[in-house]
């Protein structure tokens, strides 16, 4: 009896989540853009003359895709996680829970809204970066695919963290002790080939590494891992988190008593 898809319900929740972050664009789009630009200016200037990661690619150019994906990772996670925990803390999540909106519709709305923010932030970083750096676009399809997969993956992780966390402090812990270190240690600022052997091996267990490497391959046509492997691991991680997120929602974990 509950088959079908409440398309308008899904779209309304999705549109609400997009409007929510658009109401505070200084915080949700402009700030990440400025942060990425500062990284580019500081690290690019400091290391430009000393580091050449790929033949014929300047360090600043190498840095830009990494900064774009790092911005995607951090902002998409923040988008869904902060919205859900805020709704839980203020109690207004009840309006969605009372409505005929399924777990799938709920999950898809939050994840897709996070994807929209991720793409907007990435585009903003790109638009500013190309004022300073010549950036090739070797495989635009890969850039788009990895940007969407990265946004959706971290949007899904944000849904899970938002459901799990009981207070902002726990969410901050998740962000600072999990998301931030994994994104910094995933090859944003360097090629993992520059790392000692054991750290290279460890990096291969970091799913963010594959998101960044595949995304960077889209710009330069070269990366640390094969694009097929990056795509497979990234999709696998997305499916895993989607499964976990939907499972928690279906069980009503921490949101339906």
């Amino acid at each position: 009896m509950n088959a079908g898809f409440n398309a308008r319900g899904f779209y309304t929740l999705f549109a609400k989540e997009v409007r929510r972050f658009l109401k505070v664009t200084v915080q949700t789009v402009l700030t990440p853009m400025v942060t990425a630009l500062l990284y580019l200016l500081v690290f690019g200037q400091a290391l430009e003359a000393h580091v050449e990661v790929y033949a014929g690619v300047s360090y600043s150019a190498f840095l830009v895709p990494g900064l774009m994906m790092m911005s995607i990772i951090q902002n998409t996670f923040a988008n869904s996680s902060s919205s859900i925990i805020q709704s839980k803390m203020t109690g207004n999540l009840v309006f969605v829970l009372l409505a005929p909106i399924s777990s799938l519709e709920f999950f898809a709305a939050f994840v897709l809204a996070a994807v929209v923010r991720g793409l907007l932030v990435a585009l903003a970083v790109y638009a500013v970066a190309i004022l300073f750096v010549d950036l090739p676009l070797a495989h635009p399809w890969a850039i788009a695919v990895f940007a969407v997969i990265g946004s959706a993956t971290l949007g899904a992780l944000g849904v899970i963290a938002g459901i799990w966390a009981d207070k902002y402090d726990q969410l901050a812990g998740f962000q600072n002790f999990f998301i931030l270190p994994l994104s910094f240690l995933s090859g944003v600022f360097y090629s993992i080939h520059a790392l000692p052997g054991v750290w290279q091996q460890i990096s291969h267990f970091n799913p963010f590494f594959y998101l960044i490497d595949g995304f960077r391959w889209g710009f330069f046509g070269q990366g640390d891992a094969s694009v097929a492997l990056s795509l497979s691991v990234s999709l696998g991680f997305l499916f895993l988190l989607t499964g976990l997120g939907l499972y928690l929602l279906l069980k009503g974990y921490k949101i339906r008593r």
């Binding site: 929510r20 109690g91 309006f95 969605v96 009372l98």
Partner: protein, 307 residues
């Protein structure tokens, strides 16, 4: 006719607390139904299960014939819940939250006319574009009611709607609830104000410690306790009470006497006559009918005299 709400053997446990112990009852369509009980009785848990905010460990609830688990979309369409807490989304205006809520229920711009009508009816029109966080508590309460009605549900649950609101708003909410009832909605009201339930409801259920203590019409409940209280002041404080009145006397304080009279067996005239024959002059007299409050206190064991 299908019950508006049908509750069958509902059990719910939270850790070591058995919140609901096999509740079963029917809420008839078109009734103004009062769900009463002391704090912790299980009222909110029952409403949460009804609305899909909680899941029963056992048993079933149907809203307008739709099971809240197997036919949850239909049951949620049939139910509008006004939450107890003043919750709101600080990002949006009144009109925006009503359009959002309407959209969650699959309704588009064709529902805008109804939204405008709700804004008008609940005196929210001039605040329609104000952000929720800038509204007073009373205004926020009205918005919650509008949100619950935006999808035109057949059954409306008012969970403590007048808790903490001023007298004027309470009266206006009562009028609105009566209007909804007149228009054919089934109303389920939980309240701590028993005079509110007595004034509004035609059917009453009382929960206590997760069990259904009673469920009856208001008239039958009140008739179960056919007592009234008679207060009399006499002209002196030292006297011999007539033998016939001793069993009726519940308290005597100086020259003030309180009697408990059975509506059908005892008459005020007999009491007055007995006092007069003892040489006493009545200087003042008042009576109190048993209200829902006393019934409630007796049934929930909170009365000094016990149930």
């Amino acid at each position: 006719m299908t019950s508006a709400i049908s509750i069958q053997q509902v059990h719910k446990r939270f850790a070591s607390l058995q919140a609901l112990k096999g509740i079963s009852m029917e809420v008839p369509q078109g009734s103004f139904f009062g769900l009463l009980g002391p704090n912790g009785a299980g009222k909110s848990t029952l409403i949460s299960i009804m609305a899909g905010l909680a899941r029963a460990d056992a048993g079933a609830i149907r809203v307008m014939g739709h099971d809240v688990v197997s036919a949850w979309r239909q049951s949620r369409h049939a139910l509008g819940v006004v939450p107890q807490e003043l919750v709101y989304d600080p990002f949006f205006s009144v009109r925006e939250v009503l359009r959002l809520q309407s959209g969650y229920f699959g309704r588009g711009r064709e529902n805008d006319a109804w939204i405008e009508e709700l804004l008008e009816t609940l005196s929210l029109s001039d605040k329609a574009d104000a952000n929720l966080q800038d509204l007073s508590g009373g205004m926020k309460r009205r918005v919650l009611i509008a949100q619950a009605l935006v999808h035109r549900p057949e059954v409306v649950v008012l969970d403590e709607p007048t808790a903490g609101v001023d007298v004027e708003l309470r009266q206006s909410l009562w009028r609105f609830a009566r209007r909804l009832h007149r228009e054919g909605h089934t109303i389920l009201l939980t309240t701590h104000y028993l005079e509110e339930a007595e004034s509004l409801c035609d059917e009453i259920a009382i929960l206590n410690h997760g069990e259904l203590v009673t469920r009856d019409s208001k008239q039958n409940l009140l008739a179960r306790y056919p007592w009234r209280t008679l207060h009399i002041s006499v002209d002196r404080s030292t006297f011999q009470l007539p033998e016939a009145l001793v069993s009726l006397l519940t308290s005597a304080d100086d020259n003030c006497l309180t009697f408990r009279l059975h509506r059908e067996q005892d008459t005020i005239g007999e009491v007055l006559a007995a006092l007069q024959s003892a040489g006493l002059t009545v200087v003042d007299l008042s009576t109190e009918e048993v209200g829902l409050e006393e019934v409630f206190l007796r049934l929930t064991g909170q009365s000094g005299e016990g149930a």
